[in-house]
């Protein structure tokens, strides 16, 4: 019915007393069936409340107060403190961490991801707006205030994965207007290294029966699109009898003008492991070769994904 989170998900907000975090808490409490925010953490602020959510000094205190393990955490602390906050969440048994903070050095991000992998936790972000299951729950600032989020997101068959937080909402709103709701929309973050890439989220959507098609937002830089193209090929080649083939995917590629701008490409040694797949032209070619349709305009997406879903499901019928 959804991926990553559902109406039973409990989470905390680390950095809850910050201005944006206070808003985010309100938004999540108000949205859908109301998020189960079981605590907030800001060192030195134990005993306060934010919109009725108790504030603790440590994650351990929040877990103790809750009386059992907590599913997730939204981390919204300054970049210099993010690594420590995420380590604290992981070491206290939290399994899903949404990192909102931007401008975190790559090394810190890599360390957080490595520890998460070691402990079996998952990171979404950094530099992301989080996850939303329309009309049910949102975890993070995605979609904004409950009223605004409800305007853009509707329940339905499309999984949305986006490197841009704002474009997650723009694309979902366009889908909703065309009568195509979303099963789950995930803002995965815009940094060079992120906790969960398209390819890493695909198996989750693939296993979700409600999801019938995927829409992604892409940008220049990195190898995430090449990784997705490879995932589709490998999945389809190894899918067992009766297992769904890769869900139909439509991609939107922004930043095409950057291909013409010098100095935007990665260094030499980067290309040996990263491949030269960081321009939009190369990405589009690779996505299309894997059977992923690339939309020129956002308004074309609903019709394209409908067509692809129809073709695939028609083939099964």
């Amino acid at each position: 019915v959804s991926i990553l989170i559902d109406q039973t998900t409990t989470f905390i907000v680390q950095g809850i007393t910050g201005r944006e975090a206070v808003n985010l808490t309100r938004e999540c409490l108000d949205y859908g069936r109301g998020a189960k925010i079981v605590g907030g953490v800001t060192p030195g602020r134990r005993g306060r409340e934010v919109h009725g959510v108790p504030v603790f000094d440590t994650v351990a205190q929040a877990v103790e107060h809750h009386g059992g393990s907590i599913d997730g955490s939204v981390v919204t602390v300054p970049p210099a403190f993010t690594r420590d906050a995420v380590f604290e969440a992981i070491e206290n048994g939290i399994g899903l961490i949404v990192i909102v903070t931007e401008r975190i050095p790559r090394r810190d991000v890599a360390e957080m991801i490595e520890l998460a992998t070691l402990r079996g936790a998952r990171i979404i972000g950094p530099n992301c707006l989080g996850v939303i299951v329309p009309d049910v729950i949102k975890m993070g600032g995605i979609g904004g205030p409950a009223r605004n989020a409800a305007q853009a997101y509707t329940p339905g068959p499309i999984g949305v994965i986006s490197r841009s937080g704002g474009m997650t909402t723009e694309m979902s709103s366009t889908l909703s207007a065309a009568g195509l709701g979303q099963s789950t929309a995930v803002s995965i973050g815009g940094d060079a290294i992120i906790g969960s890439t398209y390819a890493e989220l695909m198996p989750l959507f693939q296993a979700d029966e409600q999801t019938r098609g995927i829409v992604i937002y892409s940008e220049p830089g990195g190898r995430m699109e090449a990784e997705l193209a490879r995932w589709v090929g490998e999945h389809d080649a190894t899918a067992a009898d009766g297992e769904r083939k890769s869900l139909p995917i439509v991609a939107f590629m922004a930043g095409r003008f950057m291909d013409e701008m010098p100095g935007m490409s990665f260094g030499h040694a980067g290309t040996i492991v990263e491949g030269k797949e960081d321009t939009t032209a190369e990405k589009i070619e690779r996505l299309e070769a894997a059977g992923i349709a690339v939309a020129e305009r956002i308004e074309d997406i609903p019709q394209m994904i409908r067509q692809k879903i129809g073709a695939q499901e028609g083939a099964y019928a």
Binding site: E20, I142, G144, E170, A192, F257
Partner: protein
């Protein structure tokens, strides 16, 4: 942020990796003095950030200090890849028996750094990887478990290097990995790494890039190297317009109105956020529009900041109108951006309805925002008008205005 070779060599040297007895000069006379001190044949190398120095004539050999001075004089005047050199590096011409490659870089897919070594150096490592893959060793490094020499040793040994070479190269590659990790580099490369007649190794060139976000952690190092706080080290230096954009963004801590990049068109863009800006810029160009700038607003900027950015764009020479467009906002407030851009027009003595070609920011506080826009007669749209369509209408309007002006 990319370092010049003379800075990268200094970083390598400080980490205990042997370098030649080079010197850095910003005038021909100093180049001669360095050559004199070295006392033998030298190489004069232009200090620019772009590659292809050799081809461009930015690397020359000199047998005497006088020749070194003459070459330095020429090279200091030579523009390479659109950039004038920062200075020249005067390097003893080492008798190199073999050239090696050593590098550390991020692997974005694996999300870890990867060490790379090859006994075939001095040329592009991708060429070696393509033609002699068995000559390229690599290994991913943990970011949380300890680093140790054996990791470097394994990478080097995998390429067939043994004997004294292996034991001497191991600490060099290990130290390079330490530099990469401790200095928040995104690339740390020694190419070529030369083996001299006595069997010792020396870094003959080094290439380092530090992650911008990590610069505040390395203030002391950067100050010692003489790297200015505002040096971006991009393909081109920021223009005064772009520097002014940065000042607007840092004027207060609320929200972002930054990443201003100058173009030469007539349509000023006040656009956001990250993904929305990229999408809108593409769309404006796809409809034949000529953007005067790129920028990114988001994160709920103050009225003052939105106003500051709009003013900057409005005052840019050649700008006839501005388009204010964003993807659906949830954090940024529509009314605040509307107030900011209207204030900018009014303060500059313009009619907002004429200067703002089109306004398309749907989302949080849109009712309030649309009310203000109505009051000033500004053409706007809600989310039912796509980003692409909004860009089309902005372009159509400015082109229409151009035609009217041409007739008048």
């Amino acid at each position: 942020m990319r370092f010049f070779e003379y800075e990268a060599r200094e970083i390598v040297k400080r980490a205990g990796i042997p370098v030649t007895d080079y010197g850095f000069a910003t005038d021909p006379e100093s180049a001669r003095e360095i050559a004199q001190r070295i006392g033998g044949p030298v190489v004069i190398k232009s200090q620019v950030l772009s590659g292809g120095r050799m081809k461009a004539g930015g690397v020359k050999f000199a047998d005497t200090p006088e020749e070194a001075e003459a070459h330095a004089r020429e090279i200091l005047k030579l523009e390479i890849g659109g950039q004038m050199p920062r200075g020249v590096l005067v390097d003893p011409k080492a008798e190199v028996q073999q050239e090696y490659y050593a590098g550390v870089v991020w692997d974005g897919t694996v999300k870890r750094p990867v060490m790379i070594f090859s006994p075939v150096g001095g040329i592009d490592i991708e060429q070696v990887a393509a033609e002699q893959p068995e000559k390229v060793g690599r290994r991913h490094l943990s970011t949380i478990l300890p680093r140790s020499d054996f990791q470097a040793k394994e990478v080097i040994a995998a390429t067939g290097v043994s004997g004294q070479g292996l034991t001497r190269l191991t600490p060099i590659l290990r130290r390079l990995a330490d530099i990469f990790a401790e200095k928040d580099m995104t690339l740390a490369e020694i190419n070529p790494l030369g083996r001299l007649a006595d069997g010792s190794f020396v870094a003959l060139d080094a290439h380092m890039e530090m992650e911008n976000e990590a610069r505040p952690r390395h203030k002391a190092l950067l100050a010692e190297l003489g790297v200015g706080e505002h040096e971006t080290r991009l393909a081109r230096e920021p223009t005064p317009f772009e520097i002014a954009g940065e000042e607007v963004d840092s004027s207060d801590h609320r929200g972002v109105a930054g990443n201003v990049t100058e173009f030469d068109g007539n349509l000023g863009l006040v656009i956001g956020a990250g993904g929305g800006s990229l999408t809108l810029f593409d769309a404006v160009r796809a409809h034949g529009g000529r953007p005067a700038n790129y920028c990114e607003i988001g994160g709920n900027p103050s009225v003052a900041k939105a106003c500051g950015l709009a003013k900057l764009v409005l005052q840019k020479p050649g700008v006839e109108q501005i388009a204010v467009m964003m993807s659906i906002v949830s954090n940024t407030r529509v009314d605040i951006v509307a107030r900011g851009v209207i204030k900018a027009c009014l303060e500059l003595g313009y009619d907002p309805a004429e200067k703002i070609a089109f306004f398309r920011i749907p989302g949080a506080w849109e009712e309030e925002g649309f009310k203000i826009l109505d009051k000033y007669g500004i053409e706007y749209a809600d989310r039912s008008v796509s980003l692409n369509e909004a860009a089309r209408r902005a372009v159509e309007k400015i082109q229409g205005a151009d035609r009217v002006e041409a007739r008048a």
